[in-house]
């Protein structure tokens, strides 16, 4: 009678015959498995018993393969081209408070403000004579600063002039030498310019608070650290990267590389990490506490790297190069995960990663600003919950099977313009020859007399404190 408690009365019954057996048959009520009306969703009972789901690994592998193929099929990163400048775009700046607004300065002294959602220019200013060398926005987003070849620093209001008013800067500072770059402090009314020396300015004054130099060369860019806001980094044409603390009068330390660094960018999430875009086709990610060895050497460009910008997550950065392409690197990988190029895009001079980490903007020689997706195959717009679930599932599968040779090959494949492709081949041969020579030299000399220098250390000349 034990069963009487467990089994409902209807599903079993003792037979009336001589033998009193207990029997229960599988008897499903279809009402529990079929939807009642056509307006309902279909019922899908689940059972996770592995014997009902055989071939788990091979099926997941095939799913991952399909997901990887689809990712390449849907990889259409180019979104828009903003045209209107009448000379090459020399510098870009993001609006700190507004995702849709960007500012750009051109080689003819013109500054334009763009609206990204409408993809048009909303304001044009003839700011300087000659190049606009640098542009930066104030942290509050009400005004912005430009420096130009005409030895001036100008502050402009973000909103346009009222009806009938002249387009005029808020302030103009006349300097003695040409300024080549500018950056604004992230929290205070202080900005820094660079040229012959690094000057730190109070917004209210016309003279710098302090000027710092180390050596006698022109400094090409200066950047404030977004986390430790008193720190600055600059790079000069005598191949060095100099770090400063705003609170003291002298620079902190510098590292000398093989070739000139064009610009640096601080990691917005890790205070002491920065990446330098170098003329020797590489990017170097440094830990400022240990400058003698870069954390990572990022190699993939085939010409000088001109600009670099971090994604707001601090996990990836984008670099612009003279080889007419932009590349996206993970911070901890030495090879790029993505390369963007178009037939019409010439030497890319400046690049920015938008603050929502979804888009990339680049300004190039041929007067256009291009807008790209940061994740080439991402679907734009609102996703339904099922789409999102499928996306997450596929993402995880791709991650899980990423090292399988078939999948890796498909995921890694990129079409490259012929110029870049042949350059890569050529440089591979050159590198191989150099390596072979080194190996031979080690092989034929006294053991231990020729030191093995790692790729990371190879490009660092010295660290000076």
């Amino acid at each position: 009678r034990r069963w009487a408690e467990l089994v409902p009365e209807s599903s079993w019954s003792p037979a009336v015959g001589a033998s009193k057996m207990k029997v229960k048959m599988l008897s499903r009520n279809p009402d529990n498995y079929v939807r009642e009306t056509k307006l309902d969703l279909q019922r899908v009972p689940r059972n996770y018993d592995p014997t009902l789901h055989p071939f788990e690994v091979p099926r997941e592998y095939v799913r991952a393969l399909n997901a990887t193929k689809l990712e390449r099929v849907f990889a259409k990163p180019f979104l828009a081209s903003l045209d209107g400048h009448r000379d090459g775009v020399n510098c870009l700046a993001k609006h700190p408070k507004n995702l849709a607004t960007i500012l750009s300065g051109a080689c003819d002294g013109e500054v334009r403000i763009w609206n990204l959602t409408q993809r048009n220019c909303i304001r044009t200013i003839q700011a300087h004579e000659g190049f606009v060398r640098g542009i930066c926005t104030r942290f509050c987003g009400t005004s912005f600063f430009t420096v130009g070849d005409d030895k001036t620093v100008k502050q402009w209001k973000m909103d346009g002039p009222g009806y009938g008013e002249e387009e005029e800067p808020l302030h103009t500072i006349l300097g003695k030498t040409v300024y080549t770059g500018i950056d604004h402090h992230w929290k205070e009314a202080v900005f820094a310019t660079c040229g012959q020396q690094v000057d730190i300015w109070d917004e209210q004054r016309t003279n710098p608070i302090c000027s710092m130099t180390w050596g006698f060369d022109s400094i090409s860019s200066v950047k404030f650290n977004p986390v430790e806001t008193f720190l600055l980094g600059s790079c000069a044409s005598d191949r060095n990267i100099v770090l400063y603390d705003m609170r003291q009068a002298t620079p902190l330390k510098k590292v000398i590389l093989d070739m000139r660094t064009n610009t640096i960018c601080w990691n917005p999430m890790e205070a002491f990490i920065f990446t330098a875009a170098n003329e020797d086709y590489n990017l170097y990610t440094f830990d400022m506490r240990a400058l003698d060895t870069p954390v990572m050497v990022h190699m993939d460009h085939v010409s000088a790297v001109l600009d670099v910008d971090y994604s707001p997550t601090g996990k990836e950065f984008v670099s612009a190069s003279f080889d007419k392409s932009i590349r996206i690197f993970p911070v901890d990988k030495s090879r790029s995960r993505e390369v963007y190029h178009t037939k019409r895009m010439q030497h890319v001079i400046c690049v920015k990663w938008t603050s929502d980490s979804k888009y990339i903007m680049c300004g190039s020689d041929e007067m256009n600003i291009r807008l790209w997706k940061a994740n080439a195959s991402e679907k734009l717009g609102v996703l339904t919950s099922r789409e999102k679930a499928a996306k997450d599932y596929n993402q995880k599968l791709k991650e899980k099977f990423q090292h399988y040779p078939h999948i890796k090959r498909i995921a890694r494949h990129r079409h490259l313009p012929k110029s870049i492709y042949s350059q890569i081949q050529e440089q591979r041969i050159m590198k191989e020859a150099r390596r072979r020579k080194e190996v031979n030299r080690i092989k034929h000399s006294k053991p231990g007399s020729v030191p093995i220098v790692s790729e990371k250390k190879k490009h660092i000349v010295a660290v000076v404190k």
């Binding site: 019954s13 279809p30 279909q42 009972p45 996770y48 018993d49 014997t51 099926r59």
Partner: protein, 593 residues
């Protein structure tokens, strides 16, 4: 029993013979475009050495590479029986920590640890979801230990509810018998074909006839393809494919004189065994012959598939059962099962047990987990001509016009052959047997027609709606069909261990490392020799530096010695164990070096 000499096999070989071809180790991506080239193995598992080296893990054990996606748990996360993860992990013998990643970096290791923890969590969650299962399996119990085999079908029919009683029926078709039959994967549809050409398909639950034709030719076997809309019929000369209206869609002349059909649903392969001795794999999604393998054993008329790994088991007249994959020209393994020919083979749904019956009137159950040894044997008066396993592990044997059903202790245990669970006598000799999936029903084709028997406890009570749903609508079927076709598993991936794909490929990893060292001229991962750091003034004399260096070197040396000693001890223990379990010491042992 005699066994091919195998390294590391402690069990003394007995009567059964396991032969596996030794192949050069090959990576699975090699020669994938030409899967039929000789020696192109689908992966490391197909080569015997690999299989032998790896401890065969239980099917339900925790496996290292499993999806950890909680969003769409389309894949089984977790065996239902698994209540104690810790004990199972040690059973499996290869948790993540012991995965053969040589000198894995700290970052990778930590990532793996996180993944492992995640996986454990999802496994536990999946196990807990068992609570939500709606249905209970059926059962049959006699009064006070009364033998259930004495209970006849009429009693059961009388005792159960009307809906279940309607599942018992007899089709009296004396004219065109004997019949072969096949249920569709959802268990909703039944197709049967008689020796004299009668082919019919019906929805057996509602008893609605889908089609009925006479092909005017002997029908050897009949099989549903991936859905109930397509039907493969092995006729006297060629293989024909019909749709559910009975319209002939294809006549495949490359498969001639086919005796048995098997359909591998996840690979979309139709395996055919022919009188000419060929095992042919036909990809039904693209209509191409994937592989035609010559078994070199004469007429093939005993065939069965292993649902766990899609390996085809062929029974031969010399008493062996050979295991085949389309990627290999040679059998993956050969097992000597019987004296005299093999009459029937069946493999259970977990791929753990294989039942065979032979001309020597014996019925044997083999363990397929690496050892290939018989677990139990029983001599039957007439021998069984047909065998089949149910989803919950019941074994049915057709002997003349009688079917016997044996049950095990529970799911996942081999059926015990001492006492039958049920028996039934039919009106003619049995010609085909199959348990209906997800129902407590056994279909028997015999010379008098087709009988549907009630076997309580045979079917899996809870189906998975995304895999095979008996109640699916047409739209659901169409959607499922597209999904299934998208994730069609390539035929090259069929091998004995379907999880082998997820294992770390140690061979190519080490090969790559070796190549890298050769290319660079030095080992970039080698540990640099210890250099003592200069200390404070006065304590950094040359003598103290040397002393410190010496100290570290000695410590390293001691570590090495300790490790090697430990290894030696382990080996000795192993040997001692092997000796103690081995045969009686022989006088000739003294000459062994």
């Amino acid at each position: 029993m005699e066994t091919a000499p195998k390294p590391g096999r402690d069990v003394p070989p007995k009567k059964d013979k396991l032969q596996t071809k030794r192949k050069k180790p090959r990576r699975y991506w090699e020669e994938e475009t030409v899967p039929t080239t000789d020696g192109a193995s689908p992966g490391p598992p197909c080569n015997k050495k690999n299989r032998e080296l790896r401890p065969q893990r239980p099917k339900n054990a925790h496996i290292l590479k499993k999806s950890r996606i909680s969003k769409q748990p389309q894949v089984p996360k977790k065996p239902r029986e698994w209540k104690n993860p810790e004990s199972q992990r040690s059973l499996s013998g290869a948790g993540l920590g012991s995965s053969p990643l040589p000198r894995s970096k700290a970052k990778t290791r930590s990532r793996l640890e996180v993944a492992e923890a995640e996986e454990e969590e999802t496994s536990i969650k999946a196990a807990r979801s068992e609570l939500l299962l709606a249905e209970e399996p059926g059962f049959l119990e006699g009064e006070d230990g009364e033998d259930t085999a004495k209970i006849c079908q009429a009693d059961i029919v009388e005792a159960v509810d009307i809906a279940s009683a309607a599942k018992h029926f007899d089709l009296n078709l004396r004219q065109f018998g004997p019949y072969r039959l096949n249920y569709s994967r959802t268990g909703r549809h039944l197709a049967f074909g008689g020796r004299r050409g009668h082919v019919a398909a019906l929805d057996w639950v509602t008893k609605k006839l889908m089609c009925e034709i006479n092909v005017m030719e002997a029908v050897r076997d009949i099989r549903f393809l991936h859905s109930e809309a397509l039907l493969a019929v092995a006729q006297n000369r060629w293989l024909h494919i019909y749709d559910n209206q009975g319209i002939e869609l294809h006549c495949i002349r490359r498969c001639d004189r086919v005796t048995r059909l098997e359909f591998l649903p996840f690979h979309f392969l139709l395996a055919t065994a022919s009188e000419t001795g060929f095992l042919t794999y036909l990809d039904v999604s693209v209509g191409k012959i994937v592989a035609a393998l010559n078994a070199r054993a004469g007429r093939l008329d005993v065939m069965s598939q292993n649902p766990y790994n899609a390996v085809i088991h062929l029974g031969h007249s010399n008493g062996t059962v050979s295991l085949w994959s389309p990627a290999m020209k040679e059998p993956l393994a050969k097992i000597l099962c019987h004296r005299g020919g093999v009459r029937a083979v069946a493999v259970d749904s977990t791929g753990t047990y294989m039942a065979t019956s032979g001309l020597d009137h014996q019925l044997k159950i083999f363990d397929l987990r690496g050892t290939y040894q018989p677990l139990s044997t029983r001599t039957l008066p007439h021998g069984a001509g047909h065998l089949a396993f149910s989803q919950r592990g019941l074994l049915v044997a057709g002997m003349g016009d009688v079917v016997n059903i044996w049950a095990g202790q529970g799911k996942g245990s081999p059926p015990s052959l001492e006492q039958p669970y049920l028996t039934h006598r039919l009106s003619g000799p049995v010609h085909g047997l199959q348990f209906c999936p997800f129902e407590d029903v056994l279909g028997v084709g015999h010379s008098g027609g087709v009988t549907s028997m009630l076997v309580p406890g045979a079917g899996e009570p809870n189906f998975d709606g995304l895999e095979s749903n008996p109640y699916r609508s047409r739209k659901q079927r169409q959607e499922w069909e597209v999904k299934a076709l998208l994730e069609k598993v390539p035929a090259e991936l069929i091998c004995l261990d379907p999880r082998a794909l997820a294992e770390v490929d140690v061979i190519s990893l080490e090969q790559g490392k070796k190549e890298r060292i050769e290319r660079l001229g030095y080992d970039p991962e080698a540990k640099a020799p210890f250099q003592p750091k200069p200390k404070q003034k006065g304590r950094s004399s040359t003598a103290s530096l040397v002393k410190r260096k010496r100290k570290v070197m000695d410590e390293e040396h001691r570590d090495k010695v300790r490790q090697s000693l430990q290894l030696q001890q382990q080996q000795q223990q192993k040997e001692a164990k092997a000796k103690s379990t081995g045969a009686r010491p022989s006088a000739l042992d003294r000459f062994v070096r």
